[in-house]
Symmetry: C2
Subunit: 428 residues, 2 copies
C-alpha cells in the first residue's frame, strides 16, 4: 500500500507552520496578526528590549490568508462583552509560521506555541487548529512509533487484512477471573486483538496485576496451541512509576501491547512511556470531544494526531463509520487517512488507525472504499459477541465482510457462501 | 483569612461525584442515564458477563437532575446528522456518581471516567463539567502542593499582601544576557516575582541553562544585599528527563520556583515533576481556551483546577479582571475563589491564584472586593514597565494600589499621597 500513499510535502527546515480556521468580527488579516504577535515577540506596549532585530528574528509570520466568507452572522463563541447577535463576521483560513529557534524541536513547547493562549483571544469568535508542518529537526529529536504498522502486524501475526478486535465489556465491573474467562472465549473465537476499556486500568475490583496474571496465561496457552498470539492492549494508565511497573510486568508475562489514555498522560507522560520501549502503545483519545466538538474551536484530529505519533503512539483511535457519537463519517475518514500519511522523508511515523464504536460487518465496505488500505484495527463489541451463533461466528463474519470488501464483492453476494456473515446480516 | 473561608463540604467516602451542564434534544433524564451507562458498566447490547450484581456494584448513578429550561432553540453543538435548526432543546444541571472501586484514587483514570468519551455523544448537544467532589482516598493518595501559599510566601519573603510580579517581555527573543539585564532592573525596582513567558523554555536563542546561569547570580546578589530573594519562575517545560535536569540545576543555583505548561505535561507529567519536590510549581494553563471557551462544552475551571492542585501545583493561572481575552470578570473571580477553597478536611491543597493579562493599578480594588484575600500573585507587564517614571515606580504604584484596596481607601484619594500611583493613574 505504501507506494500509493502521498509523498511527504517538503517542510521548511527552519520554520514551524500551522494552519487555522478563523472566525472574527474584525478584519481577518488583523486578527491573524494579533495571534502572530501574541504567540511570539509581540507586546501590547513597547518594552525596552524589543528591537527591530529581535522582532525580525523571533516574530511569527502570517504566511497565507484566505477569506472564506463574510456576512451578518452570530458569533460561534462568546466574548467577555457578551455579543451573540447578528454582526459582520468573517471566516478565514490562514497559516502562521514561527522560527524553529524560538523553541527548538520540543513537542511540549510546540503545544504552547501553536495551541497556547489563543483560543480565548477576544478578537476571535472562533479558532481551530487544522494542520501542522514540522521541520526535520523534530523527526531527529523524537523516536516516533516504536512498532508502528509492521511491528504490530508481526507481533499479532496478521498480514494483508485489518486486525479484527474487540473490547472487554462490560467496560468496568468484571473481575480479573471473569475477564480471563471472556478472553478465553474470544481467543477460541479466533480474534486478533482485544483491548481493555479506558475505564478499566487498576481499580480495586480488577487490579492491573491480577488481570495481567489471569489473562496472559490464557493468551500464552492459546498461542502455544495455534502459533499466533492474540494482542491484548492492557490499559496501564496511571502515574509514571505505576506505568513503569506495569510495563515491566507486561513484558515479563509475554504481553504484546499497552494502552494509555493520551489526555491523562500528556505529551510528557507519553514521551516517558515511549522511552520504556518494550511494547506497542495503543493510544486512546478519550476526552477528545472537548477539544474538537465545536467546529469553530479547538483542534482538528489531523493536527492533533501528528503530535502523538511523533511522541511514540503506535495505534490511534479514530472512531468509526456510522458511529454512536456526533462525528461525521467524513471526519472519521480524514482522521484515519491522516494516520496513514507519512510525516517526514525517511521517517513516516505511520500508525494503525483504530476504528471503534458500533462497528459491525456493515462498515467494512465503506471503510475500505474510503481508505483503500488494510492497515487498521477494527474493534467491534456487540458486532462480535452479539452474533446469534456466538463470538466465534461474530469474528468469522467480520473477517468475511473484509474479504468481500477488499475483493470488491457486494456484502449480500459474499454472504451466500458464508453462513456466519449471512447470519450477521440477519441482525438489524 | 483562613477562618473566613468556607468549610469543606463532606464528600462521600466511597463515591466520586461530578456536576455537569447538559444541553440535549432528548429527555434530559434519559441523556443523563446514557452518560452514566457509557461511563460505567452500560453496554449497547446485553453481554454475557453483565449480571445484575455487577451492574449494582459498578454502575454510575444520576444523583440529581434539575431542568433549567426547555424550548425551541438551535443546538449549541452539531451532531453527525447536522441538525442546527430550531428544535425542542432542554438545558439541565445534573450530578453523576461513580463507585470509587471502579478506578481507585487515580487522577489519570479519573479523567477518563468524568471527562472521557462523553462530550461527543450524539445524544447531547452540549456538555460541560462544572465541578467534582472526590473521596478522601484521593487526598491520601496524592501529595497536593509541596509549598502552597505559606511556602511560597516564605520563599519570596512577602506576607500580608499580594505578590507583585511581572513577565519577561518580549515573550520570546531575548538572549540569556538580555534577560538577566532586565531581571537586574526589575530586582532594583523592588519586584517580588518574575516569570518566563510560556513561549520561552529552552529555545536555542535563549537556552534554559544559559538563562538560569545568567539570571540567578543577579537574583542571588540582590538577595544578599536586601535579604529578600525575588522569586523567578523558570519555565522548565520539556520532556521528563529534561525537566529533571532543569529542576536539579534550579536547585543548585538557588532558584525558588519552576514553571510548567499543564496541558503539555498532562496529569502524569505534572505528577512526575511534583515528585522531584524541590521547588514550588508555577502552573501555566496555556491551551485552556480550547477546553473552556464554548459555554456549553468542555470544562469549568472550578472542576479543572482541583485535579492539578491535588497533583501538586502551587500557583494556578486564572487570567485577570478587565483582561484582553474573552473571559468575563465573574468567571475569573470564580476561578480565583476556587483556588482558595480547601479541598479536603485536613488537606486544603489551597494554591495562589495568578492574575495576569493587562493588569494595572486599576484592577487592585475590584480584585480585592471580589476576593477579600491577599493570597494571590498579580503579574503586570506593561502595567509595570510602561510606568512613565520607570519600572521602580511601576512596582511601587501597584503595591500602593493594593494598600489602598485592602485599607478601603479609594484609589484617587490614596494617590494624593503616593506620587508613583498618581503618575500611573495619568496613563490611560
Amino acid at each position: 500500500m505504501d507506494a500509493a500513499r502521498p509523498a511527504v510535502p517538503p517542510a521548511s527546515p527552519l520554520r514551524i507552520e500551522a494552519d487555522y480556521l478563523l472566525e472574527t468580527p474584525i478584519d481577518p488579516r488583523h486578527a491573524a496578526e494579533i495571534i502572530a504577535g501574541e504567540q511570539s515577540s509581540g507586546t501590547f506596549v513597547p518594552v525596552p528590549g524589543e528591537t527591530p532585530e529581535l522582532k525580525e528574528r523571533a516574530a511569527a509570520r502570517v504566511e497565507a490568508l484566505e477569506v472564506l466568507e463574510t456576512g451578518l452572522m452570530s458569533r460561534s463563541l462568546p466574548s467577555a462583552r457578551g455579543e451573540w447577535g447578528g454582526e459582520r463576521i468573517s471566516r478565514a483560513r490562514f497559516t502562521l509560521s514561527w522560527p524553529l529557534a524560538n523553541l527548538g524541536p520540543s513537542l511540549p513547547n510546540l503545544l504552547a506555541t501553536v495551541a497556547g493562549n489563543l483560543f480565548e483571544l477576544a478578537s476571535v469568535s472562533g479558532l481551530r487548529l487544522l494542520d501542522l508542518r514540522l521541520p526535520q529537526a523534530f523527526a531527529d529529536a523524537y523516536p516516533g512509533p516504536g512498532f508502528g504498522i509492521a511491528g504490530t502486524r508481526r507481533l499479532a501475526g496478521v498480514e494483508g487484512r485489518p486486525l479484527i478486535g474487540t473490547i472487554v465489556k462490560p467496560s468496568v465491573g468484571l473481575t480479573a477471573k471473569a475477564t480471563a474467562a471472556l478472553v478465553a472465549e474470544l481467543c477460541a473465537a479466533g480474534i486478533d486483538f482485544i483491548k481493555d476499556d479506558e475505564l478499566q486500568a487498576d481499580g480495586p475490583g480488577c487490579p492491573f496485576e491480577a488481570r495481567v496474571r489471569a489473562v496472559m496465561p490464557v493468551i500464552n496457552r492459546h498461542a502455544d496451541r495455534t502459533g499466533r498470539k492474540v494482542m491484548y492492549a492492557f490499559n496501564l494508565t496511571g502515574e509514571l512509576d505505576e506505568m513503569q511497573r506495569r510495563h515491566d510486568l507486561l513484558l515479563a508475562e509475554g504481553a504484546t501491547c499497552m494502552m494509555a489514555s493520551l489526555n491523562s498522560l500528556g505529551l510528557v507522560g507519553l514521551g516517558a512511556l515511549r522511552r520504556l520501549g518494550g511494547l506497542p502503545i495503543h493510544a486512546h483519545r478519550n476526552g477528545w470531544g472537548a477539544l474538537s466538538r465545536h467546529p469553530s474551536l479547538g483542534w482538528s484530529y489531523v493536527a492533533w494526531q501528528k503530535l502523538w505519533r511523533l511522541a511514540g503512539a503506535d495505534h490511534m483511535h479514530v472512531n468509526g463509520l456510522d458511529n454512536k457519537f456526533s462525528e461525521t463519517d467524513a471526519s472519521v475518514i480524514d482522521s484515519a487517512r491522516a494516520c496513514l500519511e507519512p510525516m517526514f522523508p525517511g521517517k513516516p511515523c505511520t500508525v494503525l488507525p483504530v476504528f471503534s464504536s458500533g462497528q459491525t460487518v456493515r462498515q467494512a465496505h465503506g471503510t475500505w472504499a474510503a481508505l483503500r488500505s488494510p492497515d487498521l484495527i477494527m474493534t467491534a463489541g456487540g458486532g462480535i459477541v452479539a452474533h446469534p451463533d456466538g463470538p466465534g461466528a461474530g469474528v468469522r463474519a467480520l473477517r468475511e465482510a473484509w474479504e468481500a470488501a477488499m475483493a470488491g464483492i457486494p456484502l449480500a453476494q459474499h454472504a451466500r457462501g458464508c453462513p456466519a456473515l449471512a447470519r450477521a446480516l440477519e441482525t438489524p
